[in-house]
Assembly symmetry: C2
Homo-oligomer: 326 residues x 2
């Protein structure tokens, strides 16, 4: 991979400046630094910090096959027509056979490939460190500081980590499609509760009405709402033909307005920052465990746990004690 | 939930003894303690530790719809016919609408419902603490200590956390089915690399041969193997009719033999224990962050990060310093 490695620490400032001028190659290099957990990230993030906070972050999630990429692409088009700069992070679980996401940046979003106002990136995590929870917020930071006014984060809505990522947005869109096992499948996947907005995509197909009703019914089963609370709307789209996309954009704007009015935007962003800081801190602590001394100690404890001579809590106590004693 | 809460610490020994005598209600209560992250777990795990290590742990994973539950059920039948006690953990992402897994214990595995030699449990995690990575190994411990000779851990093969869980087994089975997007979908989901054995289920359907060839091809793309290395077999099954299940059991036995012969079983189990200890330790550290003092500190740092006054690494440094200073 050409992007692997990265600049000397001295070059960080220059790279960040280039990214802020909107140079796609500089943005790409910064995100590669995130993917590779490069040591320069610390300096990069210090440079970026004052320039963040301008982007609206929108999460999109849903089961495989509901049309997430198509819907993301349609949203990109809508925001571009409104004159906004748009960043897209498509989170794909990686495969060691491809060394990255199989459906790469070139396949996705090809219609926006030549638009300099759009930055699209497929992210793969290689299971190192904190994984998605560690990498994605930092990649969002890069796009935010690079001047993207909207950042779309698309993740597959099956899996604890993946759903969590989409939920760490200002607004989270949950996509469904008729005949995909419908709402019950979404409930099983635990994604209903993270949705600020629901989209029933492929709404020209049989069963779309049933899916809409199921989602409304399940949303109604949740806790009773107070007046002024946000009521998640259910929007019908046929994203492949652009139908319903304006309605989705309008619903997103309405949600953004609600967030701002109720001070919820600040609260959400503070919570997101807290999660980000916490994940970096825990990853640093885990790295201490993995350092030669810690690793040797852990292996010794694990061996005793395997033999049944020690229970895992007692072993963890020992580990935490040693970690926090220094 | 009747199981919520739990016994006084004094009753732990008795509860563990009852579980070891194979009382299903005692096993159920212990696993509920795990799900609820009850404070008694520490005492429970200390009691259980000397009685663990007897179970063969088999992970099963695959995309939704490949027939994981059917295949798991068929394996349960095969192991029961061999006279073994079997435990099953089916990991379902939870929904707050159901307060647990939607497809509960009664729906799954109904054919084994009255067999006292089988313990089936659907596990839901509510996103607290370390989630699946924290809860599942402890639930496996309960089943192991309760005398299950085989423990099957079934997880949906989409999602970083879920795939990780299935990979923390002695033997990991990756299930595919024809026409499910085939092998490419599995590669995308990052599950090919965790498989010790591959099953193409629903092998009576069109395209089964293509799926088998695709998997073999992709496995061939991996690193070249040394002589004596394990070569993952690809087994065809029609689990719903029991076809190919004996072959799968034979392949699992062969893998178990290979693990034992190459000292790989001990190595894997030590690694699994290390992950378990590490997760408990990190969860304990995270709990310190979430305790009132830590939480207040983190909120203050997060607010400065949100405003762009502080970068997340500098904030994490402060947090780690305070955490390890005490």
């Amino acid at each position: 991979m050409a992007d692997r490695g990265g600049p000397a620490a001295a070059g960080v400032r220059e790279l960040v400046a280039a990214a802020r001028r909107g140079q796609p190659r500089a943005v790409a290099r910064l995100i590669s630094l995130v993917e590779n957990a490069a040591p320069q990230l610390r300096a990069v993030m210090a440079e970026l910090a004052p320039h963040t906070g301008g982007a609206r972050v929108i999460g999109l999630t849903g089961s495989p096959g509901v049309g997430k990429s198509t819907c993301t692409s349609a949203l990109v088009g809508a925001y571009r027509r409104a004159g906004l700069r748009v960043g897209v992070l498509a989170v794909d679980p990686s495969s060691p056979f491809s060394g990255g996401a199989l459906l790469g940046d070139r396949v996705r979003m090809s219609e926006h490939a030549l638009d300099p106002g759009v930055y699209v990136r497929s992210m793969a995590t290689r299971g190192h460190l904190g994984g998605l929870a560690w990498a994605v917020p930092q990649a969002v930071r890069v796009l935010d500081a690079a001047g993207c006014e909207v950042v779309l984060v698309e993740t597959v809505g099956v899996g604890q980590s993946e759903v969590d990522i989409a939920a760490q947005a200002d607004s989270t869109v949950v996509l469904l499609a008729p005949g995909m096992g419908d709402g019950v499948q979404a409930a099983k996947a635990g994604i209903l509760e993270v949705g600020d907005l629901f989209v029933v995509n492929k709404a020209d197909r049989d069963g779309a009405g049933t899916t809409v009703r199921e989602v409304r019914y399940m949303l109604g089963l949740g806790a009773p709402r107070a007046p002024g609370d946000w009521r998640p709307p259910v929007v019908r789209t046929v994203a492949a033909r652009g139908e319903g996309v304006d309605e989705l954009v309008a619903a997103l704007d309405k949600h953004h307005g609600w967030l701002t009015e109720h001070d919820e935007l600040t609260a959400r962003r503070t919570r997101r920052a807290a999660r980000e800081v916490e994940t970096i801190a825990l990853t640093a602590l885990r790295a201490r465990l993995a350092a030669p001394a810690g690793d040797h100690r852990l292996a010794g404890l694990a061996d005793r746990v395997r033999r049944g001579q020690l229970d895992p809590y007692a072993a963890a106590d020992t580990l935490v004690e040693e970690l926090t004693a220094g």
